[in-house]
Amino acid sequence: MDRALLLRALRAPASMGALAPAEWDVLLRQGLHMSALGRLCALAAAAGVLPSVPSRVRVRLEAALEDVEQQHRLIRWEVIRLRRALAGSGVPLVLLKGAAYLHAELPASRGRQFSDVDILVPRASLHEVEATLLREGWKMEEISAYDERYYREWSHELPPLVHPKRHVMLDVHHNILPPTGRLRPDPRRLLEATVPVAADGLRVLGPADMVLHSACHLLQSGEHDKSPRDLGDLDALIRQFAAAPRFGHELAARAAALDLERPLYYALRFAAQLIGTPIPEASARAVRHAAPPAPVRAAMDRLFAATVQPAPPRDPPGRVRLARAALTVRYHWQRMPPSLLVRHLAHKIGGRRKRG
């Protein structure tokens, strides 16, 4: 069983034109599990190899891409409603991740499967934004008192909101990493550097910040099944922005200014190693000093490679499960100081026991 198929398809989309049926059997399952079928279709089409894919595979890829386009339509509609709801408040509407790529019409949005809208608002406006959205019909998901407190005190976002008639999840962030974490990017600097996009009143992070946010997400999201998608985002963003001559320097400078050199180091390393992203030389040079000690680096290389290459998902080998567990521990470690981590885990484990 070839576990590297999905990464190879992302690295060299044209190779999809020559896969054997047995390889498609694995790749389709990996793509389905990793929410990547729509992107595979977009990549195969862009590489001109879609017509040489077996017809049974092609109908599935094309259906996945159409599903993604329908999702995008719903997201655009949600953003329109959001803009209307916040119009009187004077709060700028800054889109993050998928919704940002979509509205800025970046290649990273092609075939990208996602179902949430993420926005960034100034911390000072958080209460006002929340009150406005609740007044305009959004509802907060029912969560336990503990989870509520977790979001309010230790997290960088509100508990998820959803409009009951539209079912699109809305995450309102006041930063891109939790305030309890080891890395503390200053959200004011992110907001200052946002840029307007075509649709009126919408803004997105500046190019370098967008790459940095994607890098954080790759390493800090705790969702292993999304990491091929995050790698694909990074690849598309870097390829596009690196066409500008000073981008490599700018990216390194922003990473230093925002305290995000370590995530950028890993993101550039993994994107280059795993899917062959061309890394701007200036950025690679500048973050080299943020590399972890060699044994840690070697461990991270192995852990990350193990989780990002899915076995057809049933019964992942013990090694992969171990790697997933190790990265989950790291995720929590990065997110909270030890005392808080102990409390949080005790609560979560105790809660699970009680629920039986």
Binding site: W24, R29, L32, R56, R60, E62, A64, Q70
Partner: protein, 305 residues
């Protein structure tokens, strides 16, 4: 090669080692199983399906296993069956005699959650003279009984659960699989067609007693031949009622049909365009019935739209 050409030991061995790729028409299903008793039932129900040499491209991957339970006790005492569909395990373990219903539900689950290349309607589907009859309805509307009854008397079986409508050209793809019969229907169909082959009835499922009817050979052999829909008939079984067919306005039929769809909402524009075109080319009816004879004669005489 047809599945029925494998002897039970050969089939058991194939199911245990690497799985068996069963060509069901629109989808190839890879079945792995470690339950020897399954081989007999599978030969009975799926005997006419083509099996591929393994190792190719399968659309759905179903693994039927026996959970070991605490201390491995379940291996010996009150054996259970459990299905693994790659990462998903949508069903709780059930007693081992539920293996076939579980396999069938699993295949349905895979299609309902993954096959967005089709607009999928929860419906029984049959064909005659190149035109398709779609009988949408919730469980309990009597569509499976009606479907079995008609499939055993001159109609070609497309499916007792899924209308698979192709957005590209509006044709319906057949998916002739075993028909699931519940409770009194089992006896009704036995009387209707004493030669029909059925799996051993399983009592006490969440839907009562359940048996599966082997799909007719001719329907399975023609699983690759789609056809255009002509009639959309919403059936209701009503004891002792006189059979009656009532025309349904197209607009109402559209919403009833969308309501029975597994994926109308998530398909968005594709779903709307495909179903509107389908409604425009069909006549729609509501149908109340109590006897299969009446149903056969009334539905057999439906005029072309």
């Amino acid at each position: 090669m047809k599945l029925g050409a494998l002897t039970p030991p050969e089939l058991t061995a194939r199911l245990a080692r690497g799985g068996l790729d069963m060509d069901t028409g629109p989808f190839v299903v890879r079945v792995e199983a470690e339950i020897p008793a399954l081989a007999e039932e599978m030969r009975l129900l799926y005997g006419d399906f083509r099996v591929d040499e393994g190792g190719g491209l399968a659309d759905f991957h179903v693994s039927v296993r026996r959970p070991a339970g605490p201390l491995g006790l379940r291996r010996w005492w009150r054996q259970q069956v459990m299905v693994y569909l790659d990462e998903a395990r949508p069903f709780e373990p059930l007693p081992i005699d539920m293996a076939i219903p579980m396999l069938e539900w699993s295949i349905n689950w895979c299609a309902a959650t993954q096959a967005n290349q089709y607009v999928m309607i929860h419906a029984a589907v049959l064909e005659r003279d190149q035109r398709v009859l779609v009988l949408p309805g919730i469980s309990g509307a009597g569509k499976s009984t009606l479907c079995a009854g008609l499939a055993l008397r001159g109609w070609r079986l497309f499916s007792d659960e899924f209308a698979l409508i192709r957005p590209a050209d509006g044709q319906v793809d057949p998916w002739p699989r075993p028909i699931s019969l519940k409770n009194a229907s089992i006896e009704v169909i036995r009387r209707w067609a004493p030669d029909a082959r059925m799996s051993t009835p399983v009592p006490n499922t969440k839907k009562g007693t359940m048996a599966h009817l082997r799909p007719p050979t001719g329907s399975v052999e023609r699983a690759g031949e789609p056809a255009m829909p002509a009639w959309i008939v919403f059936p209701t079984f009503e004891p002792d009622a006189a059979a009656r067919l009532t025309r349904l306005p197209r607009a109402r039929a559209f919403f009833k049909l969308a309501d029975c769809s597994f994926n109308y909402e998530s398909l968005g524009l594709r779903g709307f365009t495909t179903l509107s075109r389908m409604i425009d080319g069909c006549d729609a009816y509501e149908f109340t019935y109590s006897s299969l004879e009446d149903a056969q004669s009334l539905l057999g005489a439906l005029p072309l739209p």
